[in-house]
C-alpha cells in the first residue's frame, strides 16, 4: 500500500525545482506578474524612505530652526518659524504615502488575480487528467486523497506563488533599500544593522522549521482525527448496535491526546519565534543607540540627531522584512508535499488513451473477438492467460462462475476499462485500441456492479448517458428496466450518491440509464442482486427487449435471469470450462448443471 503513504520530503533538494515548476504556472500571466512585482518593489522602497523623511525633517528643519530660535532668544529677539519648510516635508511624506497606497492597490489586485488564476488552471488541468485516467489508477488511489489535491493542496501551492512570492520580494527589496539608506548616511550604524540581519534570518528560519515539523505532525494527526470522526459518525449504527461506545471513546481520547501534544509543541516554538526575533532586533537597536550616541558626543560630532533617530527606526523595524522572507521560506517548505502530490497527478501517465491515428468507430455491429488475450492486475497473478473467445454480432452471452474467477475482468476488458496486457481484442474485426475510446464507449450500455448515482433528480440520472432523450424514451427505458412505477417519481431528488434510494432502487435506475442509450453492446455486471422478487420478475419481462438486435453480456448469480441467453459461458480460473446454450449445458451435466440444480436443492431445503 505504499502509494497511500504521505511522502516526507527532505527540503533542500526539492525546494528549487518545485518553485521553478509552480513559477511556470504563474508566468502564464506575465503582465500581471510584472505589474505586481514592480509595484511591490515600489511599496518596499517607499516603506524604506519613511524614516528618511523623519531624518530630513529633524536635521534640516527642526534642528536649524531650533538653533535659530535659541540664538534669537539669547539675543532677545524672536525668530519666525518657517512653516513652509515644515509643510514641504509633511507634503513629501503624503506624496510618498500616496505612491505607496497606489502600489498597495495594484499589487493586491494582481497578486490576487495570479493566485485565483493559478488555482483555476491547476484544478482544471488536474480534473481533465482525472477524467482520462484509467480504472487501474483509481484502483490504487483513495478518492479522498485525490480530492485534497484539487482543494487544499492547490490552495497552498497557489498561495506560495502569489502572496508568498510577494512577501519574499517585498522583504528583499525592503532590506536592500534600508541598508543602502543606512550606508549612505552612516557606515558604522549600517554595518551594525546589517550584521543583525543574517543572525535574525538564521534564527527565524530555524525556529520556523521546528514549527513546521511539528505542524506537519499535527496536520497528519488532524486528518486522523477527521477520519476518526467520519468513521464513527458513518459507522454509528454498528457502534451502537454492538454497544462499543466506551471503547470507541477511549480510542478517540488517545488520538486527541496525541494531537494536543503535537499542537502544543508547534505552539511552543511559535511562542518563541517573535520574542527571539524582536530580541535580536532590539540588541541591534541598543547597539545603534550606544554607538550612535558615542558618535554624537565625539568631537567633532560624527552623526546628526536625525540620522541617529532614523538608524534606530531601521534597526527596530528590520525584523519585519526578515519575518516575511522566513515566512515565504516556511510556506514554500510547507507546501512542498502538496506540490509533489499535485505534480505527481499531472505527471501520471494516461495508460488507456486514443492512439495518434485512432479513428472513430462507425455503428458497431457487435462482433467481439479475444485473440490470445493475457491480463493481470499484478504480474504474479495473471487473471487471463491466452484467452480466446469469439462473440458474434447480436449474440447474448451469459458469464457464470464463482466470484474472482475472471468474469468481471472479461467485461472490463471489453469496455476497455483495462486493456489486455498481451494479445488483441477485436471489435468488428478490428483491434479496438485503434479506435477512439469515445466512439467505443458511447455505443456501449454498461450496468456496473455497484450502482452509482449522481445527486440530482431521478430523471437527470436516467438521461445521464443521453441528455437529449425525450420523455417517451425515458418511459420506455423505465418499462424495460421493470421500473415503470418510477415514472411518477422522476423529479425526486436522489441525494448524494443516490443515498435517498434503496440499493434495489438504485440498481433499477442505473439499469434504465444504460437501456436509454440504446447501446450496440449491452453489458450487465450482476446488476440486480438487491431487487426483490416481484421486481426481478418485471425485469425478466423487459430483458428480452434489450437483448434483441444487439450483442449483450450478462453476469448474474440468479441463473433464471440468464437461462434464455444464446450462449452461457462457465468461467473458471480465467478459462472457459463450458460453452453452450442452456439445454446443451444441462445435457452435459457438468458444472453448469451442478450450479443450476443446486438451486433446486435449496428450494427443496425450504420445504423440509
Amino acid at each position: 500500500m505504499t502509494q497511500f503513504e504521505d511522502k516526507q520530503f527532505s527540503g533542500k533538494g526539492a525546494l528549487l525545482p518545485f518553485l521553478k515548476r509552480i513559477f511556470t504556472y504563474a508566468w502564464v500571466y506575465k503582465k500581471w506578474m510584472y505589474q505586481f512585482l514592480f509595484w511591490i518593489g515600489i511599496v518596499a522602497i517607499t516603506e524604506a524612505i519613511f524614516p528618511l523623511i523623519l531624518l530630513g525633517f529633524l536635521d534640516y528643519v527642526i534642528q536649524p530652526e531650533l538653533q535659530a530660535i535659541q540664538a534669537a532668544q539669547l539675543q532677545g529677539t524672536t525668530h519666525a518659524i518657517n512653516y513652509v519648510e515644515m509643510l514641504k516635508y509633511t507634503g513629501v511624506f503624503m506624496v510618498i504615502g500616496l505612491i505607496q497606497v497606489i502600489g498597495v492597490y495594484i499589487f493586491i489586485k494582481y497578486a490576487g488575480r495570479v493566485q485565483e488564476h493559478v488555482m483555476f488552471d491547476l484544478r482544471e488541468k488536474m480534473f481533465n487528467k482525472l477524467q482520462r485516467l484509467s480504472f487501474s489508477y483509481y484502483d490504487r488511489s483513495a478518492s479522498g486523497w485525490l480530492l485534497t489535491r484539487l482543494t487544499s493542496d492547490t490552495d497552498r501551492v497557489a498561495e506560495v506563488i502569489s502572496w508568498g512570492l510577494l512577501d519574499a520580494f517585498w522583504g528583499v527589496t525592503n532590506i536592500v533599500f534600508c541598508l543602502l539608506a543606512l550606508f549612505y548616511f552612516n557606515l558604522k550604524l549600517g554595518l551594525i544593522v546589517m550584521i543583525s540581519i543574517p543572525v535574525m534570518l538564521v534564527a527565524s528560519i530555524k525556529v520556523r522549521m521546528l514549527v513546521l515539523e511539528y505542524s506537519r505532525t499535527s496536520r497528519k494527526l488532524n486528518s486522523e482525527l477527521t477520519a476518526s470522526f467520519s468513521e464513527h459518525i458513518n459507522g454509528v449504527k454498528v457502534i451502537k448496535s454492538t454497544g462499543q461506545e466506551q471503547e470507541a471513546f477511549t480510542g478517540f481520547k488517545g488520538l486527541s491526546g496525541k494531537m494536543r501534544r503535537a499542537s502544543y509543541k508547534a505552539g511552543f516554538f511559535t511562542a518563541m519565534y517573535i520574542p527571539i526575533v524582536l530580541l535580536i532586533g532590539s540588541l541591534a537597536a541598543a547597539l545603534v543607540v550606544f554607538f550612535g550616541g558615542q558618535m554624537a558626543i565625539a568631537v567633532p560630532a560624527g552623526i546628526t540627531i536625525g540620522v541617529l533617530a532614523a538608524s534606530f527606526d531601521y534597526a527596530m523595524k528590520i525584523f519585519l522584512p526578515i519575518m516575511d522572507i522566513s515566512m515565504f521560506y516556511a510556506r514554500a517548505q510547507g507546501s512542498l508535499s502538496a506540490g509533489e502530490r499535485i505534480f505527481s497527478l499531472l505527471n501520471e501517465e494516461v495508460t488507456i488513451k486514443d492512439q495518434v491515428d485512432a479513428l472513430s468507430m462507425n455503428r458497431i455491429q457487435g462482433d467481439i473477438k479475444f485473440e490470445g488475450v493475457e491480463f493481470y492486475y499484478k504480474k504474479e497473478n495473471p487473471v487471463l492467460e491466452n484467452f480466446n473467445l469469439r462473440i458474434k454480432a447480436g449474440e447474448s452471452i451469459a458469464l457464470v462462475g464463482a466470484t474472482g474467477e475472471g468474469k468481471s475482468t472479461i467485461i472490463n476488458l471489453i469496455c476497455r476499462f483495462y486493456e489486455p496486457t498481451n494479445g488483441t481484442l477485436k471489435i468488428d474485426g478490428k483491434d479496438y485500441t485503434q479506435s477512439t475510446l469515445k466512439s467505443l464507449r458511447s455505443q456501449m450500455g454498461i450496468v456496473l456492479q455497484t450502482p452509482h448515482l449522481f445527486s440530482g433528480t431521478m430523471r437527470e440520472n436516467i438521461v445521464y448517458g443521453r441528455q437529449e432523450a425525450t420523455d417517451k424514451e425515458v418511459k420506455e427505458a423505465l418499462q424495460i428496466a421493470g421500473a415503470s412505477h418510477f415514472e411518477s417519481r422522476l423529479n425526486e431528488e436522489v441525494g448524494e450518491g443516490g443515498d435517498q434510494l434503496s440499493q434495489g432502487e438504485k440498481q433499477l435506475v442505473s439499469f434504465a440509464r444504460a437501456v436509454l442509450t440504446k447501446p450496440r453492446i449491452f453489458i450487465m455486471d450482476e446488476a440486480t442482486s438487491s431487487v426483490d422478487t416481484l421486481t426481478e420478475a418485471r425485469i425478466q419481462e423487459g430483458i428480452g427487449k434489450i437483448l434483441e438486435g444487439r450483442t449483450s453480456l450478462i453476469i448474474a448469480h440468479r441463473l433464471s435471469t440468464i437461462k434464455n441467453c444464446d450462449r452461457i459461458l462457465v468461467i473458471k480460473k480465467g478459462g472457459i470450462v463450458e460453452d453452450g446454450n442452456h439445454e446443451d449445458l444441462m445435457n452435459k451435466k457438468g458444472r453448469y448443471y451442478d450450479l443450476y440444480t443446486r438451486q433446486l436443492r435449496e428450494e427443496k431445503a425450504i420445504l423440509i
Partner: protein, 613 residues
C-alpha cells in the same frame, strides 16, 4: 458581548491560565513602551546636552517614566556621557529581554491552555455524538456533522489560540502608547489619535462586508468540492458512459464561478487596504507637522518628538487590526453556534436493567406496537402484534418500506414505539440497559459498514479479547475465510479507503463474522446476504443453523432461499402484519407469500422438468 462570553466558556477549566497569560501580555506591552522612551533620554540627556555644551540640562522630571529612567542612570555630567550611554544601552537590552521573556511565557501558557481546552471540547463532542440517538443522525447530513467536529472546531481553536491574546495585546498597546504620548503632551496625544476612530470604523465596516463575501466564496468553493467529490466517486460511471466532456464542462462552470468569487474577494481587499492606509498616512503627516510646531515652540524636546513619532505608529496599527479580529470573532462564534447545535442535542438514556452473566432467552412479544420515525411522519408500524418463542427462527418478508427494518430498530431500542409494548423474556423492553441489550442482540445491517482497519480488527470489533482461531472459525461459518486467505496480508489486510476495497458480498460476510463473534443471544440478519451468491449463501445457512441452534434468530430477506428452515414467517405490508405462520400454512393460505413462492419456484419447476427429461 454574548459572543465573547460564549467563546470564553470554551476555555473551560483553563480560564485562569488565560487570564494569567493576558496579564503577562499587558506587562510585556507596558515594558515595550519604555523602549522609545530610552531613545528619548539618550537624545535629550546625552546628545542634546552635549551639543549645547552642558547648558541644555535635561528635565528629568517631565513625566514619571522619564524620571524613572533617569533615576536608573548615573548622574549625567559632561565627563561621564560615555558611561551614561553604556548604561542606556544595557538598560535597553535589559528591558527588551524582560519584554521578550514575558511575552514568550504568555504565549506558551496560552498555547498550552488552548490545546487543553480544545482537546476537552473534541472529547466532549465525540463522546456526546456516540451517545446521541440514531434519529439525530438522520436529521443532520453526515458531511456537515463531520465539518462541525473538525473544521468548526479548528476555527474556534485558531481564534482562541491567537486572537484572544492578540486582542489583549493590541488593547494594551493602544492604551499604553496613548498614555506615553499623553505624558509627553496631552493635546498632541489627542491630535495624534484624532483620525483613529475613522480607521476603526472603516475596518469594522469592511470586515462586515468581508465576512459576507467570504461566506459566499466558501459556498461556491463547497459546491466545487462537491462536484469534484461526486465525480471522483462516480468516475467509473462517467467513463462507462463516455461522459467526460459533460463532466468537464460542469466542473469548468463552477471552477469559473469560484474564481470569480475569489477575485471579488480580492477586489474588496484591494479597495480597503489602500483606503485605510491613506487615513493612517494622513494621521502621521498631520502629527509630524503638529509635532514640529510643538518642538519649535519648545513645548516638547527633540527627543520627545522622536519618541512620539514611534508611539504614533504603535497607536495607529492596533486600530487597523481590531476590525479584523472582530470579524474573526464573528466567524468563530458562528462556528461555535454550529458546534453547540450538536452539544445541545439530547443524549440517549442508556440506564436500565442489566446483568453481568445472565443471557437472554429470546422470548420476544410485540403487542399492538405502533411507531413512526418523526412525530408527524407517516405511521411505519400500525398495531403490530406477534410473538417469538425462545430459540425460534423467524423470517420477515415484505416489500421495501413495509416496516421490517423498523421492527429491528425497535428491538435494539434505537427508537421507542409510539404505543403498545414490547416484551423481552417477559420484561418490558424499555427497562433494559441499552448497552447490555445491544451487546446481547447481534445485528447484521443491510449496508455493511467496515472500519478502515484490518480485517482481523473489523471482525473482532465487538468481541473484546479474542483468539485468532475463534475469529477464523467464525469467518469459516460466514464463508469468508477462504477469500481472506487469498489476500496479500490475509487477516491483517487493510480494508476501506486506504486499503483493499471489498465487494458488497464480501463486506456483508465480514459484517456477519463480526456479529457472530459478538456471541449474541439473539441474531438478526437484515437483508444481510443479499449480495452473496446463492451457493455461498447456502453454506452460510448451514453453518448458522449450527451456531444458532436453540437461539432466537430473525432474518429479513427477499430470496426464499435465505429463509430455509424458518419456524415462522411474518409477511409485512405497509406497516401491518399481512400474514403470519409456518411455510406450509402460508402456502395453503394462498396470499402474498404464495405469490412470491410461485414466482421463485417457477424456476424450480423448470429444473425439475429438465432433470426428469
Amino acid at each position: 458581548m454574548q459572543h465573547i462570553y460564549k467563546l470564553f466558556a470554551v476555555l473551560d477549566r483553563w480560564k485562569g491560565h488565560y487570564i494569567f497569560a493576558g496579564l503577562l501580555l499587558i506587562i510585556a506591552g507596558v515594558v515595550r513602551m519604555f523602549l522609545p522612551k530610552i531613545l528619548q533620554v539618550a537624545i535629550d540627556g546625552v546628545v542634546v546636552f552635549h551639543q549645547s555644551n552642558g547648558t541644555h540640562i535635561p528635565n528629568t522630571d517631565s513625566d514619571i517614566i522619564s524620571s524613572f529612567i533617569y533615576g536608573l542612570l548615573p548622574n549625567i555630567q559632561m565627563d561621564n556621557l560615555s558611561w551614561v550611554l553604556t548604561c542606556i544601552g544595557l538598560l535597553f537590552v535589559g528591558i527588551a529581554l524582560i519584554q521578550a521573556t514575558v511575552r514568550f511565557f504568555a504565549n506558551v501558557i496560552s498555547a498550552s491552555s488552548t490545546e487543553n481546552a480544545i482537546k476537552a471540547l473534541r472529547d466532549r463532542l465525540f463522546s456526546h455524538i456516540q451517545a446521541l440517538p440514531l434519529s439525530f443522525f438522520g436529521e443532520v447530513p453526515t458531511g456537515e456533522m463531520i465539518q462541525r467536529c473538525t473544521g468548526d472546531v479548528d476555527t474556534v481553536r485558531n481564534f482562541i489560540s491567537s486572537q484572544v491574546t492578540e486582542i489583549i495585546r493590541l488593547i494594551s498597546f493602544f492604551f499604553g502608547a496613548f498614555f506615553m504620548m499623553y505624558l509627553i503632551h496631552p493635546l498632541y496625544a489627542f491630535i495624534a489619535i484624532c483620525l483613529s476612530p475613522l480607521v476603526f470604523i472603516t475596518t469594522f465596516v469592511f470586515f462586515k462586508k468581508e465576512s459576507k463575501i467570504w461566506e459566499a466564496h466558501e459556498t461556491e468553493q463547497d459546491k466545487l468540492t462537491g462536484i469534484i467529490q461526486e465525480n471522483l466517486s462516480g468516475i467509473r460511471v462517467v467513463q462507462a458512459f463516455a461522459n467526460e466532456d459533460y463532466e468537464i464542462e460542469k466542473f469548468n462552470k463552477q471552477n469559473l464561478v469560484k474564481r470569480g468569487m475569489g477575485i471579488q474577494h480580492v477586489d474588496l481587499h484591494m479597495k480597503f487596504w489602500p483606503f485605510s492606509d491613506v487615513i493612517i498616512h494622513a494621521q502621521i503627516a498631520l502629527s509630524l507637522f503638529v509635532g514640529g510646531y510643538f518642538t519649535l515652540s519648545q513645548q516638547i524636546t527633540v527627543g520627545e518628538f522622536i519618541a512620539f513619532s514611534t508611539y504614533l505608529v504603535m497607536v495607529a496599527w492596533p486600530m487597523r487590526q481590531l476590525g479584523q479580529i472582530f470579524s474573526k470573532m464573528g466567524m468563530a462564534s458562528v462556528a461555535l453556534d454550529r458546534i453547540d447545535l450538536i452539544l445541545k442535542a439530547e443524549e440517549e438514556d442508556y440506564e436500565g436493567y442489566h446483568s453481568e452473566d445472565e443471557k437472554l432467552k429470546g422470548d420476544i412479544v410485540f403487542d399492538e406496537v405502533s411507531f413512526r420515525y418523526e412525530e408527524k411522519g407517516p405511521l411505519v408500524l400500525d398495531k403490530v402484534s406477534f410473538k417469538i418463542n425462545a430459540g425460534e427462527k423467524i423470517a420477515l418478508l415484505g416489500p421495501a418500506g413495509s416496516g421490517k427494518s423498523s421492527i429491528i430498530a425497535l428491538l435494539a431500542r434505537f427508537y421507542e414505539p409510539e404505543s403498545g409494548t414490547i416484551l423481552l423474556d417477559g420484561k418490558p423492553l424499555k427497562t433494559y440497559d441499552k448497552t447490555y441489550l445491544r451487546k446481547r442482540v447481534g445485528i447484521v445491517h443491510q449496508d455493511p459498514f467496515l472500519f478502515s482497519t484490518n480485517i482481523n480488527e473489523n471482525m473482532a470489533y465487538a468481541a473484546g479479547e479474542i483468539e485468532d482461531d475463534t475469529i477464523q472459525e467464525a469467518a469459516k461459518i460466514a464463508a469468508i475465510h477462504d477469500f481472506v486467505m487469498t489476500l496479500p496480508n490475509q487477516y491483517q489486510t487493510q480494508v476501506g479507503e486506504k486499503g483493499v476495497s471489498l465487494s458488497g458480498g464480501q463486506k456483508q460476510r465480514v459484517a456477519l463474522t463480526r456479529a457472530l463473534l459478538q456471541n449474541p443471544d439473539i441474531l438478526v440478519l437484515d437483508d444481510a446476504t443479499s449480495a452473496v451468491d446463492t451457493e455461498t449463501e447456502f453454506h452460510i445457512q448451514n453453518g448458522l443453523n449450527q451456531v444458532m441452534a436453540n437461539k432466537t434468530s430473525i432474518i429479513i430477506a427477499h430470496r426464499l432461499t435465505s429463509f430455509q428452515g424458518a419456524d415462522t414467517i411474518i409477511v409485512f405490508e405497509e406497516g401491518k402484519v399481512l400474514e403470519m405462520g409456518s411455510q406450509e400454512s402460508l402456502l395453503e393460505k394462498g396470499g402474498f407469500y404464495r405469490k412470491i413462492f410461485d414466482l421463485q419456484s417457477a424456476v424450480e419447476e423448470d429444473i425439475r422438468k429438465e432433470i426428469n427429461e
